[in-house]
Amino acid sequence: MFLRQSYEAAYHFKEVSFLIMRKPGQNPRILVADDSEMNRAILEEMLGGEYDILQAENGVEAVEMIRLHETELSLVLLDIVMPVMDGFGVLDEMNRTRWIEEIPVIMISAEINPDNIERAYELGVTDFISRPFDALIVHRRVVNTILLYAKQKKLINLVTDQIYEKEQSSSLMIDILSHIVEFRNGESGLHVRHVNLLTAMFLRHLTQHTEKYRFSRTEISLIATASALHDIGKIAIDEKILNKPGRLTTEEFEIMKTHSAIGAQMLRDLPIHQEEPLVKVAYEICRWHHERYDGRGYPDGLKGDEIPIAAQIVALADVYDALTSERVYKPAFSHQKAVEMILAGECGTFNPLLMDSLRGLAGSIQEELLGDNLVRANQREMRNIAEELLRHKELTASERTLQLLEHERMKYSFFADLTKEIQFEYSISPSIVTISAWGAKHLGLPEVIVDPLNNEKACSLLSATDWQRLSEAVRHTTPEDPNLTYDCLIHYIDEPRWVRFVTRSTWSLEEPPQYTGVIGKAVDIHDSQLRLRKLEQMASHDPLTGLLNHSAAQEQIQARIEDAPERNYALAILDLDHFKAANDTFGHHFGDRVLTFLAEKIRQGIRSGDIAARVGGDEFLIFLEYKQDPEPVIQRIYASLRGEYKGFRLSVSMGISTSEDCGTDYDTLFRTADSALYTVKRGGRGAYRFYNHTMERTLSTITPIENQTVKEER
């Protein structure tokens, strides 16, 4: 190496005289990047006669060289091992800048490491030259590579030119040409465009609906383009005849009629492009677009299918557009009228297949012509692609799947709307919940919520406890048992309402299955929940007095004792003295009101933690807790029950048992209190007594409650 440079210095290579540019001129240029001056010199010696050689002694210089001479470089000969930046660095840069697509690279190296060779090929090198150099091989490889790339570039240019010529110039030129014709005709600039569109429509319709005609999209496009030239022959017609407002004389009409043959002749006389499909089709259209299916047209009087189909279609399109446009000699007819006139044969005779197409297209022609803009064109394009796809059989399976999917989706959204349920779908990754349209509206939430667990509004719908329980319950589902029901309150803005979450956890198809999310719905069960609560209330309460019934009271009392068995409890049973007499004297209604009156007194007399119930016809139960002596409480309650209801003096007898004396078994407590009450009754009524063992073996005082099915009574 002659030069030892730092990285920075390498960037200023222009000031250093390593750059040797030989005979700048027409020779192709080759960049040789090698850190050995000897190697560069040898290569230069080998190639110098036919090529201009640029040199770089490291990767950075090479990149700078390429940057400077990009378009002039025919080839880069690149060493791998170089200081500052190696050959792979240069290739990376050439890939980044896409120079590699334009400039061929041949690697020169003694490297035989297959990894390096593969890596170089992957980075886009064209070939390898290994050391030691063989002059013939080096020369041949260089020549071949440069030729190959030159040829490829030429081909690319050729193809590009052809496409440009075909797709751009031709249609542009045709547009200009046909506008000139129209301008002379005094026709609207849209005539050619309309004929073009109508021609394409008929071609498509024939392809779709007849066995006889099959046009590819390319053919349709070609014929439609050629249709623009149908009237070029009018260039040769005298403007006075062309734009005469009144009826043409026979002579004038004969002159006018020559335009089709003249147009065809103009195309026939083209010095080149005779073999172009466009020219051939245009010729047919020009010459025969005034022929008639019944053979009464001009210039050749062709009949039926002697007339090329392209010319038949353009003739029809021409007539339709002429009818619906205003002309110097006539007003514009409506679309409807024009179609009627053509179908009625008022404007010539046409191929019956074309008449079928006209009937088929009648509904869409106007729309197509009016909506002729880029968007429509794109949509048409899309439809064409879709049609193309449909023709491939292998796609039918997946297409059917898509249809089924679309059908399911429609069904789903229909039913979702119908049920007025909040339906949702939650996926954990990404964390997104999708809510049915109705549900989202109902909840005042968007239909899609990203990261819903951190969405304040979504979270506020359920209490923290409910969220916790619900998510735990969901997490405990399994693929075998993925369903879950959970009732809780949803906190709407105006009021909380009971809902039932019915969910199904979803699992991946992997083994083992991974939990992926939840689908489900939240059904409003508020009303039924309220009814249920009412039923529960009804089941546990005495309908007349609103106090608990016996079985509900028993449940509560047992629960209370179970919770704290060490505490002291007293159970009192009381009944109304002389109640039967009141019933007999004043009637059942009065009796009921007396019972209700007493129940109210009981309710007011007891403390909030005490339990009161109606356990028989006129028997009531009071259960309470006490610290040391139950008597003061009992006495106070007993005293509070005295009074009078509409002349009927309330007198109450009461028997009491305590857990201290009788234990905590409910049945025992009840039976002993009952015995105490019986003892009071036997002893003259109007008093209370605590149970003692002398009262054993007494009878029960309890009478059945009328008009009530008592679930369970002893």
Partner: protein, 119 residues
């Protein structure tokens, strides 16, 4: 001294190099240029400074030039040295450096004689 005699002295393959490069003039021009090539000096300095990365590149360059010029002996020893330095210093490197030094001398001495005889 002729180029062919020089190559025989170097134990290098004259016929092979002429076969490849196709020109005695070209071979002689570059063979003599090898005397001025700084890579060998760079190799010695880098090894002394324990800059093995630079030494690897220098050895690699010598190897490449030798292969191109058909300097078989020096090409072989510098090639072995290159491999021993490819991933930094290895124990064989020092021995291979000595071999490369000896082969370098065996190469440049005949080249110098050739150069002297040309003037």
């Amino acid at each position: 001294m002729t180029l062919k005699e020089c190559y025989e002295k170097m134990e290098a393959n004259y016929d092979e190099v002429i076969g490849r490069l196709r020109s005695e003039r070209l071979v002689q021009k570059f063979a003599l240029k090898f005397l001025d090539d700084p890579s060998y000096q760079l190799l010695i300095t880098s090894m002394e400074e324990k800059n093995y990365e630079e030494a690897f590149r220098a050895a690699h360059t010598i190897k490449g030039v030798c292969q191109n010029l058909g300097f078989t002996c020096l090409g072989d020893s510098s090639s072995a040295l290159t491999e021993s330095l490819r991933s930094g210093w290895t124990p064989e490197a020092d021995r291979l450096l000595e071999q490369t030094k000896a082969d370098y001398q065996n190469t440049v001495t005949p080249l110098q004689s050739l150069k002297d005889s040309q003037q």
